[in-house]
Amino acid sequence: MDTVKLTSKVVPELYLEAEHISPDVFAGKSNQEIGDLSVHMGNQTYKISDYFTVEGKAGATAAETKIVVAGDVSKVKYIGMKMTAGEVEVLGNADMYVGAWMEGGKLLVKGSVDSFAGIAMKGGELIIEGDAKNYIGAAYRGDWRGMQGGKIVVKGNVGSDVGSNINGGTIDIGGNADVHLATHAEGGTIIVRGIAKGRVGGQMVKGDIYCLGGVERMMPSFKYDHTEEIELDGKKMNFQVYYGDLGERHGKKKGEIIYGKIYLTAAQPEGGEGATAVKSERKAKLSEKQLEQLATELKEMKEPSVQNVREYIKKTFGIDLKPMQVSRLIDSLSR
């Protein structure tokens, strides 16, 4: 396998759309030809060489081509779009649509990515070592065909609407998942190793969602059915199996109705009643001492945003407050 190394020379003023950074496009091209490929910023067209140095050598086919992307590409979109073979390795963070419509090969991002990574993916492997934002492995806007095959691994946390319209393949999330996980799923597998926030599997008709850290609040349209021993990561674990979304149509196979299934680990770290009882956020409150510390911190933050303060509280005190609570705290403490 031959390797082309792209190193970012300048951070684009706006966002760069670089769908040509893919082994399929690079294969068989000289470095000069690769440098001449187009990238877009706003309504302007530029060349890859305007933003990157091109070193190394592309292979004869996509399968024989690896692309390493170095430097700051946190404002570059569409890396590895539609790739069918070969490898792409992004050493830092990347922007939206990484591995979108991907069909094969391997795409590794060592940092974090923005939204829409791996949308409508059909095959291959997309690994994100950091966090990922919203709509990972989902469908394109308006479409009903989300991820259909392959594997997405996000080692950190993911945002909302991940796996929306998924109907095949696997999404493995190391951290927590925000709301609207697997909306309208018609197949596929999602594993959340942290906490799934809520509204999991809304309108789901088929597919499997494993929530190892529980679901903060289950949809009322999912119903506990049975407990089952299932092997995951080579370990046998007991899961409570929920069927849903009961408000949706469901197909039949050999006379039996097929449901979407949510698997919750039977043993919960916090105890409480059943799997859904992750620490209730309604009761979450900061102590006097914590409030004092937060007030000092707020003074140092120039323009404290709800999101930043919420992150700070989560990191420092291990308490996840609702945005509304955070907003009230900021108001009262800065007065």
Binding site: A139, Y140, R141, G142, D143, W144, R249
Partner: protein, 565 residues
């Protein structure tokens, strides 16, 4: 204006009965003429095919439901956008292209006149705004009358003069072209969650039947002498066994003679007959009844049809047949849009994938083609896809290929996953007829122009007619591979619209001077209808009468066809 002479092309023109003769065509001041001066620009068409600009009799290309399709299907546009050029604007979309793409794509295929097949009167302004934004092609729009409260009440009371006065008023108010009827009564019944699945099902509350609605509007149309006949999409579209309802509908026109001054010979046009030619009583024994339907059409010269060919694409269905769209979304579980247009109609939209691997879709494909191949009169059988319902209009060249080449049909039939079942449910495999270029010109030019009452204006190459002329780089006698047909008809080398060269070497070079056709049908002053209109707007409509009319500035370059009674 400039003069042109198109030299030595092989001309196919049913209007002048020219069947593939090598002939020069002269253009002067926007019209076809006998001869031009020596200053005329000469275009060499040797070895090429020359026809009049094609005429689209039924497509959904402008208005609220087309635009809602665009709105709610961003995925239809994905990866389709072309940037603007010197003479073109940015254009995109596949089954529901932007207005600009609609104009460009029709022109590139050699289509110069297009009829929007369903205009909800309440949203007529929107229809005309989009027509205005669709370049090159002349357009007209058919307001829907088949579920209109005025029509129901007047027909129920046998007040034919009032029906005619209302039709005249609505055509004028909406700048409409013809009387369109969609699922008569059924779209109104949908407001009660019901439908009319036969032509004798009474409409809830109004207690009138689809048969009475169609017969009444047909009578009014002929009494008024409108350029086009009533344009019908009958009840029970898309269901197994519906060919009986279709034949029942056809029989409503039996024996009625046309009355008009526009050279129109039919009193009844039925659209997208493919969707109405189904046998069997379930999807399991679903089969073609194209032969039965065409036997009737062939022996009744006072009617015309268009095909509604399935092109086996992913597309967007949209119709004023609201209950049908609901039925469809329960079949394919894809997203559904549904609208009630107060007092006038309903409407629905659902994306649809005509998958060749699915038996029913392959049978539908075969039925569309069978209808054309069973036709004994190409002047009364027109090629459409009911765009975008059975497929996008951009697939017309592919349909031409299938109709013109038995080989290409046989390859399709053999390639289907359920080949044996498809062959058993259809007769396409045994039809070796191949439509020739002259018949194609009848089915796409002279025929639809005549049915629309435009036979002296477009769809032909007689001196005095509009100079809508198309050159295709194909020679009927020298086709080796059917693919050449699709390629040549996809990209005309030259297209003239009313004497202006709009496509040159396959490129759009001008946006022409598009016109909007509408029909001003004069009737005696009718104070009762005037009062009824005022009352309905006061009592029921959510808009003011003054905000309803399509006033002149909405209409792009209007061309008014006046009808004296």
């Amino acid at each position: 204006m400039s003069e042109y002479i198109i030299k030595n092309g092989t001309v196919y023109d049913p209007k002048t009965e020219v069947k593939g003769e090598v002939k020069d065509i002269c253009i002067k001041d926007g019209k076809i003429v006998d001869k031009v001066s020596s200053k005329a620009k000469s275009i060499d068409a040797k070895g090429k095919t020359v026809m009049a600009g094609a005429v689209e009799i039924h497509a959904h290309v402008a208005g609220p439901k087309v635009n809602e399709g665009r709105n709610y299907r961003p995925e239809d546009k994905l990866f389709t956008y072309q940037p603007g050029g010197k003479n073109t604007r940015m254009a995109g979309g596949f089954s529901i292209p932007t207005t600009f793409k609609t104009g460009y794509e029709y022109a590139k295929m050699g289509y110069t006149t297009v009829m929007e097949a369903a205009m909800p009167p309440l949203y007529a302004r929107h229809v005309h705004e989009e027509i205005k934004d669709t370049p090159i092609i002349d357009e007209g729009a058919f307001p829907v009358f088949g579920n209109n409260w005025f029509v129901f009440e007047y027909l129920k009371n046998n007040e034919m003069d009032n029906v005619m006065a209302y039709i005249s008023w609505l055509l004028k108010t909406t700048k409409g072209y013809a009387i369109k009827i969609v699922n008569p009564g059924g779209s109104e019944a949908w407001g009660w969650g019901e439908n009319c699945t036969t032509i004798h099902d009474p409409v809830p509350y109004f207690d009138i039947t689809p048969a009475e609605i169609m017969k009444g509007l047909l009578t009014a149309n002929e009494k008024m002498g409108l350029p086009h006949s009533i344009h019908v999409h009958t009840n029970n579209l898309g269901n197994p066994g519906n060919y009986k309802d279709t034949l029942d509908t056809f029989k409503l026109a039996q024996g009625v003679k046309p009355n008009n001054k526009f050279g129109r010979e039919q009193v009844f046009h039925h659209t997208h007959v493919q969707f109405h030619s189904y046998g069997g009583d379930s999807w399991a024994n679903f089969e073609s009844k194209a032969k039965e339907v065409m036997d009737y059409v062939n022996s009744n010269k006072n009617m015309t049809i268009d095909l509604g060919c399935v092109t086996l694409d992913e597309t967007t269905t949209m119709t004023a047949d609201g209950p049908f769209e609901h039925h469809l979304t329960t079949l394919n579980h894809l997203k559904w849009a549904n609208v009630d247009v107060e007092l006038e109609t309903s409407s629905g939209i659902v994306p649809y994938i005509y998958d060749p691997k699915i038996k029913v879709c392959a049978i539908q494909w075969a039925i569309g083609l069978e209808l054309a191949l069973y036709s004994k009169d190409p002047m009364r059988t027109f090629i459409t896809t009911d765009h975008p319902n059975a497929g996008p209009f951009t697939r017309y060249p592919r349909i031409f290929k299938w109709l013109m080449s038995d080989k290409s049909r046989q390859e399709m039939l053999k390639g289907f996953k359920n080949s044996d079942k498809v062959m058993a449910a259809t007769t396409l495999g045994s039809l070796d007829r191949e439509i020739n270029f002259y018949e194609l010109a009848q089915m796409t030019r002279a025929g639809p122009a005549k049915a629309l009452g435009l036979t002296d204006m477009c769809g032909g190459l007689a001196p005095g007619m509009d100079a809508d002329v198309v050159i295709y780089d194909i020679n009927e006698g020298k086709i080796k591979d059917p693919e050449e047909i699709e390629k040549a008809f996809s990209a005309a080398t030259h297209v003239f619209k009313a004497g202006t060269l709009v496509v040159d070497n396959g490129e759009i070079i001008s946006n022409g001077n598009k016109r909007t056709f509408w029909v001003d049908a004069k009737v005696p002053t009718n104070t009762q209808v005037e009062r009824d209109v005022q009352m309905k707007f006061l009592k029921y409509y959510s808009v003011n009468l003054n905000n309803y009319e399509v006033s002149d500035h909405y209409v792009a370059n209007p061309y008014v066809i006046e009808v004296e009674n």
